[in-house]
């Protein structure tokens, strides 16, 4: 009886070496078993032999694996000791590799944590992608993201089916009394469904509901967790308590969750009543709308549907012609302003990483070539190639992990600094809304990824150097190694070119962002930034127009009497904060525009002395005077942008215009003031009409105080003067104008600083790389240099030759970098301000900085090799 094929096949389960050793004999034994099995059950024999072979194969394999693991652990320990000893012997190499990795990993982890925390931040709502902002939009009039009137909101929320719920929102005020003084905390006025739209439930108590819809309902409020902790002492029974807000007792309905946010972290939510919203003027655009898309609905579908509804309303109310609704996801809109900046930062850190990678690849290569003799000796002494490879990879892996850990330390230190440099809030472009920029911390995913990438980079970058290192033969590894190594090192030239090219791109980018930022900083904002103190005062909405005007008149009188105050005035808003406020404008002596083509422009209600106090230059005619602040307003001042848009070459002063509000009909234009960059230095100034405030003053106005010396020294005296007019009125957002300008410039400054820092790091890392590679190439020619010095060549000549020899590499690297840099700058043109992508000065500086550093990095090793003793040099190999 012969064994079947299956039994013979089972022998394959054994490891090859085992089969080579015993396979033939085992087959013979199996054959013997079958040959002597006469009279036994075939099946039993098959089973017995098969079980024996399979089990034995499993035992043999398990033993081998066990011994491999044990051997591996023993070997790894030895290798580790060897690697650490080798690294200790080359501290320069180890430090350079660690520093390069730490810089690259640190910068990347910090910037990507920042990007992840900001760009990829998910607001704490269920299904946040379904939360949308709905804007009133009239692109023909330049209003893309405008507010919506109360009645339009009510109609949209009742009729639109593409949204599950819709809420109106308006930044309001919550004035509370603290230590006897009114304190304005800021609030969000929201319609009843607001929290339902976001899908947020209060942590304590309840949200607004149908009981709060009408104005007959009692005054209520929902407070933030912080408000509850700090002002209500975290009292669990705070719900139901009455709290004086804006001079009226409000019942606390609920406390928001700790992580609640919506365009910032409002301390108080106050209800907007449906009946009041519906009764408002339909053309009085006032509210942002926030909605939750119905399941399956898209922002595009909601835009179409809501625009259709608005068009239907416009058929009955021609004043709405031309208006549409723009629905956009909140998560997208809120990062629109920072997205390009973050992309630039991401690209810059990516480039820094490239420089670092090229640097490391060069370093590892040099290292393996420099150790050719040692490795050859190890191979000759019996170390297998596998062991030598393991040692090389272990060394680069250890450097990778250690560099990664150091890099995380760098990121941990850099992130708070990065967050501190970022502005507190950025505007949503083309709207008056702002979103806070979140403080970032080191993201565990980014950190873990960076660490893994560093370890992998260590191992992967060492791989290309392996074949050369392993090719070393004991006999060729000594003696004439100099020539061989020089030949091998030739490939490092391309690494030098790559490093210099990328460093040049970054340097050029840094130069261009630097010049953009400088241009922005130098932009004439149209207001004086020094010696001006600004603050918002009053909450006198409950008084009639003359009562409100009387209050601000009294405030101005008191403030002007403060010693050191040069002048004071009020305005609706402090500029540079993205504020806007539009009203319809008509020109009585021109034919009326067709329906839907009505002009809407920004308007500001101001007092006499505002232009002087804020440093706004009157270019033609005159400003508004004291006598015009009594009785019905009859005059107006317009800005340059308004003149350009509506008057062209026509005479302006003496012209007439009317604004929609009843109190501002038929005004005579008495002057032109310089443009104020209300939306920040990079945005062109919008057309604005300035009118006397007393016709319909806001209940809360911006006070501008021009002082002698440091405005911060006047905060207390001015506050006391304001309170002397009425101690019950709040004062908030007290800032020198300088701080406002600084906030407006925060993003360009942040970009400038970061790109500058990243470029500096890249140039230094590249210089270190060039130094290492050139140093190695020069070092491997020590013997040749020695012979030449002995034969009479001067040290100077040797130095010159080395430096001149590197010039082509530097020129190619810098040249490629400049071309790539200009291409990149063209792609990112929208981020440049007042500087062309091929700006000659920036190009020249980038080329000079990188070129000079690269040549210095070449000169240092040249000097070293040319100053050695020729005899020693010849003996050195």
């Amino acid at each position: 009886m012969n064994p079947p094929a299956l039994i013979r096949w089972l022998l394959r389960l054994y490891p090859r070496a085992y089969r080579d050793r015993y396979g033939r004999e085992m087959r013979e034994v199996v054959g013997h078993r079958y040959a002597t099995a006469e009279g036994r059950s075939r099946l039993l024999l098959h089973l017995e032999v098969a079980a024996d072979l399979t089990w034995s194969a499993a035992v043999v394999r398990a033993r081998r694996a066990g011994s491999w693991i044990a051997e591996g652990v023993r070997g790894a320990e030895l290798d580790l000791r060897f690697v650490l000893r080798a690294l200790r012997r080359s501290p320069g190499y180890a430090a350079t590799a660690l520093l390069t990795l730490a810089v690259a990993v640190g910068a990347n982890a910090a910037v990507f944590s920042f990007v992840r925390g900001t760009l990829l931040h998910r607001p704490p709502y269920p299904e946040p992608d379904r939360v949308v902002l709905a804007w009133g939009s009239n692109p023909a009039n330049g209003q893309v993201r405008d507010v919506v009137s109360g009645p339009n909101f009510v109609d949209l929320s009742r009729r639109a089916e593409s949204v599950e719920a819709l809420a109106a929102v308006h930044p309001g005020d919550a004035v509370v009394v603290e230590e006897g003084r009114p304190l304005s905390l800021g609030a969000l006025d929201v319609s009843v469904d607001f929290l339902r739209v976001l899908g947020v439930s209060p942590a304590l108590g309840r949200g607004f509901d149908d009981r709060d819809r009408t104005s007959s309902a009692p005054a209520t409020a929902i407070v933030s967790q912080r408000f509850w902790r700090e002002r209500l002492d975290g009292d669990p029974d705070a719900v139901g308590r009455a709290l004086p807000i804006n001079g009226e007792p409000h019942t606390i309905l609920g406390v928001l969750p700790a992580d609640f946010e919506f365009l910032g972290r409002p301390p108080v939510l106050l209800p907007l009543r449906d009946d009041e919203l519906a009764a408002d003027d339909r053309t009085h655009h006032h509210y942002w709308l926030v909605g939750r898309l119905a399941p399956g609905a898209t922002a595009g579908a909601a835009t179409t549907e809501m625009t259709g509804i608005l068009r239907e309303i416009a058929r009955e109310d021609p004043g709405l012609s031309g208006w549409s609704v723009l629905v956009e996801p909140l998560t997208r809109v809120s990062v629109e302003a920072v997205r390009p900046v973050l992309w630039i930062l991401g690209a810059a850190t990516g480039l820094l990483l490239l420089v670092a990678v090229a640097n490391l690849a060069g370093l590892f290569r040099i290292r393996s070539l420099g150790r050719a003799d040692e490795l050859a000796a190890r191979v000759a002494l019996g170390a297998g190639r596998r062991q030598v490879s393991r040692v090389l990879l272990l060394e680069s892996g250890i450097l990778g992990v250690a560099g990664g850990v150091l890099g995380l330390g760098v990121a941990w230190i850099a992130l708070p600094w990065l967050s501190a440099m970022a502005p507190a809030a950025v505007p949503i472009p083309e709207s008056a809304a702002t979103v806070p920029v979140l403080r970032s911390s080191l993201d565990p995913w980014v950190g873990g990824g960076a660490l893994l990438a560093a370890a992998l980079a260590g191992v992967l970058l060492a791989l290309p150097a392996l074949p050369r290192a392993l090719a070393a033969r004991p006999l060729t590894g000594t003696g004439g190694s100099g020539r061989r190594v020089t030949g091998d090192a030739r490939g490092t030239g391309s690494l030098v070119v790559a490093e210099l090219a990328v460093a040049t791109v970054l340097c050029l980018g840094a130069g261009l962002t630097l010049r953009s930022a400088e241009n922005l900083v130098a932009t004439d904002l149209g207001v004086e930034t020094e010696g001006v103190l600004t603050m918002y005062v009053g909450a006198v909405d409950d008084r009639d127009a003359s009562g409100r005007a009387a209050y601000f008149r009294e405030v101005l009188t008191r403030v002007r009497a403060v010693p050191g105050v040069v002048g004071a005035g009020v305005n609706d808003y402090v500029p540079l904060q993205g504020e806007d406020d539009f009203e319809g404008v008509r020109f009585p002596d021109r034919p009326p525009p067709p329906p839907g083509r009505g002009i809407r422009e920004e308007w500001r209600r101001v007092s006499e002395g505002l232009f002087a106090a804020a440093g706004m230059r009157v270019l033609e005619g005159r400003g508004l005077e004291r006598r015009e602040m009594e009785g019905p307003p009859s005059t107006a001042v317009v800005n340059e942008a308004f003149v350009r848009k509506h008057f062209g070459d026509e005479p302006v002063v003496g012209g007439r215009l009317s604004l929609s509000p009843e109190a501002y009909r038929d005004l005579e234009v008495v002057g032109i003031v310089a443009d104020v960059r209300a939306r920040g230095p990079a945005e062109p100034a919008p057309p604005v009409v300035y009118v006397p405030y007393q016709g319909e003053p806001r209940g809360n106005m911006a006070l501008f105080v021009r002082v002698e010396g440091d405005p911060r020294a006047y905060v207390d005296p001015v506050r006391e003067a304001v309170w002397s007019a009425d101690p019950s009125q709040p004062i908030d957002r007290v800032f020198p104008m300088r701080a406002m300008a600084d906030r407006a410039l925060a993003i360009p400054r942040l970009t400038r600083s970061l790109v500058g820092a990243l470029a500096t790091m890249a140039v230094l890392v590249a210089a270190v790389g060039v130094f290492g590679i050139v140093g190695f190439r020069v070092g491997s020619r020590t013997r040749e240099m020695g012979i030449r010095l002995a034969l009479g060549a001067t040290a100077r000549r040797i130095r010159r030759e080395v430096v001149v020899g590197a010039v082509p590499l530097v020129l190619i690297g810098v040249g490629v970098g400049l071309v790539a840099g200009v291409a990149a700058a063209r792609a990112a043109r929208s981020l440049l301000y007042g500087v062309s992508p091929q700006d000659l000065a920036s190009l020249a500086i980038a080329a000079l900085v990188v070129g000079a550093l690269a040549l210095t990095a070449t000169w240092l090793p040249a000097r070293r090799v040319s100053s050695i003793d020729p005899q020693e040099a010849i003996r050195s190999e």
Partner: protein, 121 residues
């Protein structure tokens, strides 16, 4: 050259199969199939190895340095590949002696307790 005692002790006690195989090879060095037959015969069928377990034992004893194989010999038939002849090493013989002494000690102890049954002469 005397071997350190620890080298031998390390292998004790021997597993029954290892002991038997060492003993058989000490009697007469042999190749796999014959070893298998003698194992069957000597254990009266109680130790019945198959190819897998037999060569696992041979591999173990070889790796432990207790047996080795001598020059291969041509099979008596004159056909087929040459066979490896396994035999104990010096260490293997020492271990075998030590194991025998150990077992003899056990038998002695059993005897003093009168547990050796009717084999007393």
């Amino acid at each position: 050259m005397t071997r350190p005692a620890g080298d031998v002790e390390r292998h004790l006690p021997l597993k029954a199969v290892h002991h038997l195989v060492l003993l058989l090879l000490a009697e007469e060095p042999t190749y796999g199939v014959e070893l298998l037959e003698r194992l069957d015969e000597r254990s009266e069928g109680r130790v019945r190895l198959n190819a897998g377990s037999l060569y696992r034992t041979i591999a173990h004893l070889t790796d432990e340095g207790l047996i080795e194989h001598a020059e291969a010999v041509v099979p008596p038939s004159g056909r087929g590949a040459p066979r490896k002849i396994y035999r104990p090493t010096e260490l293997g013989l020492e271990v075998l002696r030590a194991e025998t002494r150990r077992q003899a000690g056990l038998v002695e102890a059993a005897r003093s307790l009168d547990l050796a049954g009717g084999t007393e002469p």
